[in-house]
């Protein structure tokens, strides 16, 4: 499985459903802090540019509020793509899972609280 397929599989997102309307980016409260914007998460997966996606700062700025997921008229779920990208990064660091105890030392000051909630949501599965 290549990186693109991996992101698609983890996130369950079909980037080709996107009609490039920009609703996700119009909605995102963390937009200004992001280097790659929510609608671009989708186009990066479409074009297979996963390396850039995995290196983006947005990943740690996203609030995981899922407003983009909620509002997208085509049910693309851009927020889940970042979720998947984060997981890939975590896997690269070794190990699929983090225990709850391992997390505090990894937490960066700027990391939004909500992101932790999201992380727990994902890793507990």
């Amino acid at each position: 499985m290549n990186a693109k397929e991996q992101v698609q599989q983890i996130s369950g997102v079909n980037p080709y459903k996107c009609m490039k309307c920009g609703k996700c980016s119009a909605t995102c409260p963390a937009y200004e802090e992001m280097d790659i914007k929510p609608h671009q998460f989708v186009s990066y997966v479409q074009s297979g540019n996963i390396e850039a996606l995995a290196a983006c700062k947005s990943m740690w700025k996203c609030l995981s509020c899922f407003a983009c997921v909620e509002r997208c008229p085509r049910d693309v779920q851009p927020g889940r793509i970042l979720d998947a990208a984060r997981q890939i990064v975590v896997r690269q660091r070794g190990g699929n899972y983090l225990t709850a105890e391992e997390i505090p030392p990894l937490v960066d000051e700027d990391l939004p609280q909500q992101l932790l909630v999201s992380a727990y949501r994902r890793y507990k599965r």
Partner: protein, 662 residues
């Protein structure tokens, strides 16, 4: 025993390149009943048909199998050919060795083998075929049009001009539909009322057209050429024959607090009202829910002021039963409800409006007398934001998956009209795509950008937030510049998705006309039969079939009229003889078949039967031959095997399967 001729067509190289046609003919000759088999380059050509004719004569054929293209293509051709040479047309079967064989296989050997099998099945069927006689049914030379918008009006006018009687049934107190609510119309910007009102007057004055307003279709029975329809004419509480349309009653009516449907609730109307000044008929109705007289028994002001003595509080609903040969559905559309779209703050701010509401605001006869103003404080807006595709192209459960088609054009129209009349107002349009196919349509939109300086931004709006100072903070994407932008607007206009009118599902059920998942009526063929419903005798006109603008609606309305005229011009209709029939000895009257029949063709009667010497009264299914379309749903539902389709009997189908499996 039948004497069957088999004719294998090459279809040029379409079939012959993949199927060994000589081999097919050769194998067919070995089948029981076959006395002649041959192949030819083009069986459907004149020469090909002459070959068939010659063989019928020479070999005294009683049945034909043509191995060729799909029966959809040429079954009718070969049936006519058989008839010309003295054979019953239902003694012809087609083996589809093109679409089902040569076009989908590459390997010649395999394709040939399949062609042989298909021919064998068709031969097995013809062996059991019996001549069938098409019946006849009469045609009532009058049409019914349901819905009196521009679609219904145009269809009715065209049918009436051809000399046939037409009735229009319109739910609201006036004909005119949405077009009567519009201000100016793209692409020419002529005033909607100026082009619509003359048509409304023509329809009302036409000797062949009868208009039932404030009326609804309640019951439909019968079939193509011979429908019987009950129309409920709701009590107007005003005598149409006496009323002079002076309007005094509306002026004096003390109950003036009902939101005006015509003005989309932007202002109020009286309890006795006509929806708009040019209403046809110009006879008011009393809204009994709002009328003080009906609620408390007191008041009666309108009765006192009416010089004509037209008010009649005791008037009752009337049921009119009429016969029709054809029915046209023209029930149009409405804009969707926006309750699932909180992000646009539509329910929070009076200054967030739909485009249809803007039409009323821009209209000189509207709630603001044509002045562009904020409904919250009456101030003139300086910054207006338009959002396109609100609820359109949404595959989630909030909106509609389709493109509403008209919004790109009317938004360009609105933006342009505003910039023209109020050049100091800034206009921004958020769009996903601008879709302007149509004559002079793209030029129209470009004018909005190039000549009128409308600011088009590619991207959607994520949030509209009402501010304490009364303005609206619009947060949207600018995808080209990759920016999130915020605009402080005075007014936001939502190009709201359209959907078929409420109640169309009910109409479709009454007519047994099919309807899609979005409640648009389905056409018989999306390309080749766009104005006919799959139900014979039912035709489609206007937006009830799919989103369209006025030019397209009018074209479709004319096309529907032509189809109706074509039907009404006939004195008799031939009916399809391949209909269902219940074997009275097997039928146990269980009612299962009537439940599945999509055309309502099955009823039950109690009849005396003689079952091996025992006479008894039994409840037995009876199929109305004129209604049955031969779909076969009943035959597979019947638990006792009593239902059979003529021309497609269980025996024939089993014989085909046996021949295939042999």
């Amino acid at each position: 025993m039948q004497r069957i001729g088999v004719f294998v067509c090459h279809c040029g190289s379409n079939i012959a390149a993949t199927v060994d046609v000589k081999k097919v003919a050769e194998m067919a000759r070995l089948e029981p009943g076959v006395v002649f088999a041959d192949d030819y380059q083009y069986m459907c050509s004149e020469a090909g048909q002459a070959k068939i004719g010659a063989a019928i004569k020479e070999y005294n054929l009683t049945g034909l199998v043509v191995c060729s293209c799909s029966p959809r293509m040429h079954e009718a051709t070969f049936r006519k050919c058989a008839e010309r040479y003295g054979l019953n047309p239902y003694m012809v079967e087609i083996a589809n060795i093109r679409e089902h064989c040569s076009w989908i296989h590459k390997d010649m050997e395999e394709a040939t083998q399949k062609a042989v099998i298909l021919a064998r099945a068709a031969i097995a069927k013809v062996n059991l075929n019996a001549p069938l006689q098409a019946g006849e049914s009469r045609v009532t030379k009058r049409a019914l049009v349901i819905g009196g918008g521009i679609a219904g009006i145009q269809t009715a006018l065209d049918i009436a001009d051809a000399g046939y009687e037409v009735d229009i049934v319109e739910k609201t107190p006036s004909i005119g539909g949405r077009m009567s609510q519009l201000d100016k119309t793209f692409p020419t910007l002529d005033c909607s009322a100026c082009i619509l009102t003359p048509k409304m007057v023509d329809a009302a004055g036409h000797e062949k057209i009868k208009i039932y307003t404030y009326s609804e279709v309640e019951k439909v029975s019968g079939f193509v050429g011979d429908f019987t329809v009950d129309i409920r004419k709701k009590a107007r509480s005003v005598d149409e024959a006496k009323c002079t349309g002076c309007g005094v009653c509306q002026e004096k009516c003390p109950s003036k607090k009902t939101p005006s449907e015509f003005n989309r609730g932007l202002n109020n109307r009286s309890a006795i009202y006509t929806p708009f000044a040019q209403a046809i008929p110009n006879v008011p109705v009393i809204d009994r829910e709002a009328c003080i007289k009906f609620k408390t028994g007191k008041c009666g002001v309108c009765e006192k002021v009416c010089q004509a003595g037209a008010i009649n509080y005791a008037q009752e609903d009337e049921i009119i039963t009429e016969k029709y040969g054809a029915i046209v559905v023209a029930t149009g559309f409405d804009t969707i409800k926006l309750d699932k779209y909180d992000e646009y703050a539509y329910s929070q701010s009076k200054d967030v409006i739909t485009s249809l509401e803007l039409e009323r605001i821009m209209n000189a006869a509207g709630p603001t007398k044509g002045h562009l103003e904020r409904l919250s404080d009456g101030k003139a807006p300086k910054e207006i934001v338009f959002v396109q595709c609100v609820g359109s192209r949404c595959s989630d459960e909030r909106g509609k998956p389709y493109c509403s088609k008209i919004c790109c054009m009317y938004t360009a129209k609105h933006a342009m009209l505003i910039r023209d009349k109020y050049p100091d107002v800034n206009v921004t349009v958020f769009y996903i795509d601008v879709r302007t196919p149509g004559k002079n349509f793209d030029e129209f939109y470009r004018r909005a950008v190039e000549e009128y300086g409308v600011n088009y931004i590619k991207g959607q709006v994520g949030k509209v937030a009402p501010q304490p100072d009364g303005s609206l903070l619009v947060q949207g994407s600018d995808l080209i510049d990759n920016k999130q932008i915020k605009i402080k607007a005075d007014m936001v206009v939502l190009a709201t998705a359209i959907e078929p009118n409420q109640g169309v599902r009910n109409i479709a059920t009454m007519l047994t006309a099919s309807i899609d998942t979005n409640n648009f009526l389905t056409e018989a063929h999306p390309k080749l039969r766009p104005v006919e419903s799959p139900t014979a005798g039912v035709f489609l006109s206007g937006v009830c079939q799919g989103p369209k603008d006025i030019p397209e609606t009018v074209s479709q309305a004319g096309a529907a009229a032509v189809k109706v005229i074509g039907l009404l011009a006939k004195d008799k209709l031939t009916t399809n003889p391949c209909t269902a029939q219940a074997d009275e000895l097997l039928c146990n009257g269980c009612s299962n078949c009537a439940k599945v029949c999509p055309y309502g063709a099955i009823t039950y009667e109690t009849r005396q039967v003689n079952d091996h010497g025992i006479r008894e009264d039994r409840r037995i299914a009876v199929v109305n031959k004129a209604l049955c379309q031969g779909c076969g749903a009943c035959t597979v539902t019947c638990p006792s095997g009593a239902m059979d389709l003529q021309g497609f009997s269980n025996r024939q189908l089993i014989a085909e399967v046996d021949a295939i499996c042999r």
